[in-house]
């Protein structure tokens, strides 16, 4: 049996999800991850998603539950977008549990224990 091994590489050009986009943040006082889903609105150039209409807010403390909710609600239509959300939400959950700062699309800074 022959199985191929493939070295992982990043895709150079991001393709926007026609379903919409998300903003993710941690609401520290309420100890929750908040995900806002925006339906795309095209302005000026029809091929560019430029802003969005707020369509749904999903909140919770578990990246897994939020991912499942987003899937149930059919808010993503691209696999790379779904994978991106999974990564970001897991970062947000780690930040929430460990009282770290989370900023979407930025590296999670984990303070090492001395």
């Amino acid at each position: 049996m022959k199985v191929e091994i493939l070295e992982a590489t990043k895709t150079k050009r991001m393709v926007k999800d026609p379903s919409g986009f998300f903003t993710i943040f941690v609401d520290k006082p309420r100890k929750e991850i908040v995900v806002e889903f925006y339906e795309p609105i095209h302005k000026e150039k029809a091929d560019r998603t430029e802003t969005g209409k707020l369509g749904l807010v999903v909140c919770g403390t578990s990246a897994e539950a939020i991912c499942h909710t987003i899937a149930r609600e059919e808010l993503v239509s691209r696999f790379d977008h779904a994978a991106y959300l999974g990564r970001e939400l897991q970062k947000a959950e780690i930040a929430l549990k460990n009282k770290l700062d989370y900023t979407q699309d930025e590296e999670l800074v984990i303070k090492s224990k001395k």
Binding site: T23, F25, V26, D27, P29, R30, V34, Y38, I41, K43, E50, T51, G52, K53, L54, V57, H68, T69, A71, R72, E73, E74, V76, S77, A82
Partner: protein, 191 residues
């Protein structure tokens, strides 16, 4: 108390000062400031500020400080909204940010924002001592609260999901199902 949740910090509900720190992270004594936080985008970020400011009629001053956000020009854009409003296409008149469109707040909220707050332009200044001095000065210039709160509504959905029964299967996509054995197939029309 603020309807549209975000990455801001809430201080005193009686303070008449809100602070937009643009791309800078700055903290303030909670007793002196009603609400403060960063503001990165010239569209959604501005909408969130407007929605939350008009929900608290005590807020009469909005200080813009910290470093401007490159590309987005969020500070310039909110100043333009305050000075000029939006055109018929939702574009902030005079804004030079990349995508300065307003889509999620009402014309009433925009008009109220423009009337409610006096903008204090300290863009480029991030020294807390300088900003704190301005807060002190503004706190001494009391203004009456303005009218009733305008509240953007967020309602909890009564049904947990809009999804139809999938009998233990999970939907990855509107046309695909994966069952517990990870077999993926097209969703049947009757599900």
């Amino acid at each position: 108390m603020y309807p549209w949740r975000g990455e801001f910090t809430v201080g005193s509900p009686d303070s008449q000062i809100a602070i937009d720190t643009l791309s800078s992270r700055i903290d303030f004594p909670p007793k002196d400031v009603a609400i403060w936080g960063q503001h990165k985008t010239e569209n959604l970020g501005i909408e969130k500020i407007v929605a939350n400011v008009v929900s608290n009629p005590n807020i009469r001053y909005l200080i813009l400080c910290g470093q401007e956000v490159r590309g987005h020009r969020s500070g310039q854009s909110i100043k333009s909204l305050h000075s000029n409003g939006i055109d018929g296409n939702g574009r902030i008149i005079g804004a030079t940010g990349a995508v300065p469109y307003i889509e999620n707040i009402t014309a009433e909220a925009i008009a109220r924002f423009r009337e409610q707050v006096e903008l204090v332009d300290m863009i480029g200044i991030a020294e807390i001592s300088v900003i704190a001095e301005k807060v002190k000065e503004l706190s001494a210039r009391r203004k009456e609260p303005i009218g009733e709160p305008i509240i953007m509504e967020f309602a909890e959905r009564k049904k947990a999901s809009r999804m139809k029964s999938l009998s233990g299967k999970v939907s990855l996509h509107k046309d695909l199902l994966v069952d517990p054995y990870l077999e993926v197939r097209a969703m049947e029309a009757d599900i």
